[in-house]
């Protein structure tokens, strides 16, 4: 309902020319028309698919490596001691900060945005996984040990399940962040994708295309975050 009111107000304000410079503020209906024509021509679809693929590959790889690394670092003290100082050093660097370096190392090709999304996902997911694993109460591990479970079994059946809430927090936050980062990377350095489309629209002063792209971005951020929130509820709601 609030969204419908917002869209109606948008339409009225733009149509009644209540904002100076109507050219820069198209009504919602014009944006919808543009959405349709961009979709029909395949421009939006192609660029969207490019971005989606980069996010999926980069985010999946970053998350899998982050979770695996996080489990090892969280479970084995020696790995934590060895790697934590390095991770702590790299973690605060914003993902886009790596862009100039990666442009030189990797070059401007499909690997570049994937690598940026990988970095964007890897560090926070790793950090949250380590925190989750290390926060599991030692008493649960001891209890499982007295019940005859091996270390690997304890890890798989007690520690990781109990760390899931933390792991999902990392995934949920970074699923949205991956989209924000990919758009920024495409705007700066990559000629295809939603971000690049926005930059081209900007140079042609096509406000409605920019707004279409922003709406697509918002919807993707939201649905990725919601997807992981849904998975988290599925996996942990029964017992939390």
């Amino acid at each position: 309902m609030p969204v419908a009111i917002f869209l109606a107000l948008w339409e009225i304000v733009a149509r009644q020319n209540l904002v100076a410079g109507q050219f820069f503020f198209p009504p919602f209906s014009v944006v919808v028309q543009e959405f349709y024509s961009l979709t029909a021509s395949g421009v939006l679809g192609d660029n969207f698919l490019s971005s989606l693929l980069r996010v999926l590959i980069g985010f999946s790889a970053g998350s899998i490596v982050g979770i695996a690394g996080g489990i090892i670092m969280g479970w084995k003290d020696i790995a934590h001691k060895a790697l934590n100082p390095i991770i702590s050093l790299f973690y605060p660097i914003p993902a886009l900060g790596w862009l100039p370096l990666l442009m030189l190392w990797i070059g401007i090709n499909e690997m570049l945005p994937v690598a940026i999304v990988f970095i964007c996902s890897f560090f926070p997911v790793l950090y949250n996984t380590v925190t989750g694993i290390r926060n599991v109460d030692e008493d649960y591990v001891q209890a499982a040990r007295t019940l005859g479970a091996s270390d690997m079994r304890i890890l798989a059946t007690v520690v990781v399940p109990l760390a899931l809430p933390n792991i999902f927090t990392g995934l949920r936050l970074e699923a949205g962040m991956a989209w924000r980062v990919i758009i920024a990377a495409e705007m700066v350095a990559i000629p295809t994708g939603i971000g690049a489309l926005m930059m081209r629209a900007e140079s042609l002063i096509r406000i409605e295309i920019i707004i279409v792209c922003l709406i697509v971005l918002a919807l993707m951020c939201l649905s990725f975050e919601r997807f992981f929130a849904f998975l988290e509820v599925k996996a942990t709601a029964k017992w939390r």
Binding site: D139, Q142, R153, T236
Partner: protein
């Protein structure tokens, strides 16, 4: 089920502890918080490194990891796995042993029935009451038919009514299964009710190991006596039955009426807080009322402890701070003592002539 020996165990506060737990016995480790009781359980379970040796039936198990020691451990906080339902919690150890699914299911069902918790099988721990959690945790600990059961203050978080009920059940179950059991508590009455023998632990040392009555009537030293409430203990040299269940014993030169079945009371014990102090001769029959002189006063936590000489016998009584100050009692003053009849405990040796 094994006999357990702790030989010269050192870990944290515990230094050079020696202790023997007999086959099928329920030994209570009794002591204040921080005495080292849980540390000793963890040593037996193999959950911590330690110096010294743990022996099960003449076989040292120091090199045996926790998962192979065949121990059922009921932790103080119960530590049910929150992400597993009741059945899965109970089945955890059985699955870890990779038993066939049919056997696991049968055993879980058996334990659910034994602990009378069939109706809870698919609930998660967050939906269980304290007593229910306790039963589930015990079922889980018993699932692998352990040879040794370690219980770390298992009833400390429950209400009094549930505690009484579960304590009795626990005792019956332990006897029925014949598991060598160590039970940790800081509650003397709980220890007396449940124990075959009590080991009093203080500051990481085992001060005394004996049957409950013996700990109470023959505390080995001041530390033990203090922990059980520093009871007045009087030797009795004669005793006659007044009527069934009531005897008059001559203890420390005082004729004391005791509610007791039997006619050879050897010792009586009475906690200082169970002696009422009055400035004037209290009304009522002159039973268990004595006149004495205060010889010493000492402030303890929330009370004042008075040493009163009654003839040649010294009794220790306790008064609340404010009462003591209101009455203006002091060393040298005469007072009247009333020994609360129902609180007097009598010790009569059983057959073997006692201590």
């Amino acid at each position: 089920m094994p006999r357990i020996e702790l030989k010269n165990i050192s870990k944290h506060i515990c230094q050079g502890v020696n202790l023997e737990i007999l086959n099928k016995e329920l030994l209570v480790l009794l002591g204040p918080n921080g005495a080292g009781k849980t540390t000793l359980l963890n040593v037996i379970a193999g959950l911590t490194d330690y110096e010294g040796s743990v022996v099960f039936d003449c076989e040292p198990v120091d090199k045996v990891v926790a998962s192979k020691r065949r121990i059922g451990y009921l932790f103080q906080d119960l530590v049910l796995f929150p992400h597993l339902d009741v059945s899965a919690n109970i089945a955890y150890g059985l699955k870890a042993q990779k038993l066939p699914q049919s056997k696991i299911e049968a055993r879980v069902e058996e334990l659910l029935q034994m602990m009378k918790i069939q109706h809870l099988s698919s609930r998660y721990p967050k939906h269980l009451s304290g007593g229910e959690k306790q039963r589930v945790a015990l079922a889980r600990a018993l699932a692998l038919s352990p040879e040794v059961l370690l219980l770390d203050e298992p009833l400390s978080s429950l209400d009094l009514q549930t505690v009484k009920h579960l304590r009795t059940e626990l005792r019956q179950l332990q006897r029925r299964l014949g598991i060598t059991t160590l039970y940790v508590t800081h509650d003397i009455s709980e220890a007396e009710e449940i124990a075959d023998r009590i080991a009093v632990v203080r500051n990481g040392r085992v001060e005394q190991v004996a049957q409950p009555e013996e700990v109470f009537f023959y505390p080995k030293n001041e530390a033990v006596s203090d922990f059980i409430g520093a009871p007045n203990i009087l030797e009795c040299d004669s005793c006659r039955e007044l009527e069934h269940g009531v005897v008059e014993a001559n203890c420390g030169g005082l004729p004391i009426i005791v509610a007791h079945e039997g006619n050879s009371v050897r010792r009586i014990a009475l906690l200082p807080r169970d002696i009422y102090v009055s400035e004037t001769w209290p009304p009522g029959p002159g039973v268990n009322r004595f006149k004495g002189t205060i010889t010493k006063t000492k402030y303890i936590d929330d009370a004042v402890r008075l040493e009163v000489d009654v003839g040649k016998t010294r009794l220790v009584a306790e008064m609340a701070h404010h009462l003591f100050e209101e009455t203006g009692l002091a060393v040298g003053k005469e007072v009247f003592l009333i020994l609360k009849l129902r609180r007097i405990r009598a010790y009569e040796p059983r057959g073997d002539g006692g201590k």
